[in-house]
Symmetry: C2
Subunit: 201 residues, 2 copies
Amino acid sequence: MTQRKKQPQITRAALLDAAGEHFARAGYAGTSLGSVVTRAALTKGALFHHFPDKRSLAQAWIDERLASAVTALWLAPLEQADSLDALRNLCRLRFSELAPGDATSTLSALAAELTPADDLLSACLAQIHDAWRAAIAGLLERGKAAGQIHRSIKPAAEAAFFVALIAGVTVTAKAAAHADTRRACLSSLEDYLETLRSQSA
Amino acid sequence: MTQRKKQPQITRAALLDAAGEHFARAGYAGTSLGSVVTRAALTKGALFHHFPDKRSLAQAWIDERLASAVTALWLAPLEQADSLDALRNLCRLRFSELAPGDATSTLSALAAELTPADDLLSACLAQIHDAWRAAIAGLLERGKAAGQIHRSIKPAAEAAFFVALIAGVTVTAKAAAHADTRRACLSSLEDYLETLRSQSA
DNA sequence: GCGCGCATACCTTGCGGTCGGTATTCTCCC
DNA sequence: GGGAGAATACCGACCGCAAGGTATGCGCGC
């Protein structure tokens, strides 16, 4: 246990946590730094000691928290998988957890809010989307190699389709009242995944 | 031509137009009323004469402009249609026009930004999504009646799936650099639509 | 002249961001 | 090893400004 001096990491972490909660709830523009430091039980001085400005705070949170959360939710579980069943089961699991404020929904919400090309935040978000697509495409590639997935399908295109659909569900069926809409999407998604299966499987 | 006295409608319309441009570009929280009146070459006085507050301005724009734009883009062209080909062709057309700031993208962006249940704006957006889903479901119902669409498909579920996908594309492939991602989604979408077709067709 | 439609000026609040100060810890030298 | 000094980690008051919103005035058609 190399106990450091005063662990500035925990202050920084508290700020990132508080910022994340507000970003998830109110978006980037809707989040005020005052509310962040209040939530973290800290002060502006601490915030601007660790981050030069609001944008840097958001970037740090996206890179260090949101990205790893998406990885844990969607990339890591499929790292070695090559079956459509694994993908379907993961979708069922994730859909059952979908709620406003979770990592999947927040990724979509921030990507929708931030205007492209004008700043680097959207680039960070696009990077997460790219990694997500790559993970799905990888699974489909392996599934093709294993003969479970039809030869004619194009993994990159299907992965883009898949990721867009998940993002769209979080946007169009956001409210709690749309739980049946989410279920409908999941049902159709499962049917769609079956169409990727090789006939010989 | 019943020319009214001074046509307050055109001032109101100018304000709605200006507000819409900013909502599309910066979202709700990112839009300032000052920039709206500047864009419309008017003043705060005019704005608050026609709308009691910012939220009402946004609601009016959503109800009067965004809703009708979505209707013109996605509902009206399919009003009588019953074929998958009509839907596919419309998708091709709309995908070719997709760009940040258009009605489809703005609907998704606002729906993603606005937190559900806390205000009536998200209810207005949900209403648009509902109408959109209903239009797609109607087409699928008619297609089933016409025997072109497979009997086992559930129109409501497929419609939710479809609308979520379009929204997701506008979010995950927003930047101009992702034109190929949009094309990939369109390609997979067309393949997916084909799976709805009745074998006997 | 009276009310509608809008402009001007202004108010309050809260925003992102700055700055000097202070306590604590690390570093270096003897 | 221990003390001086630099660097770190954080506080809290403060600033300029732009935000949403208001109060009042003015022109013009009826």
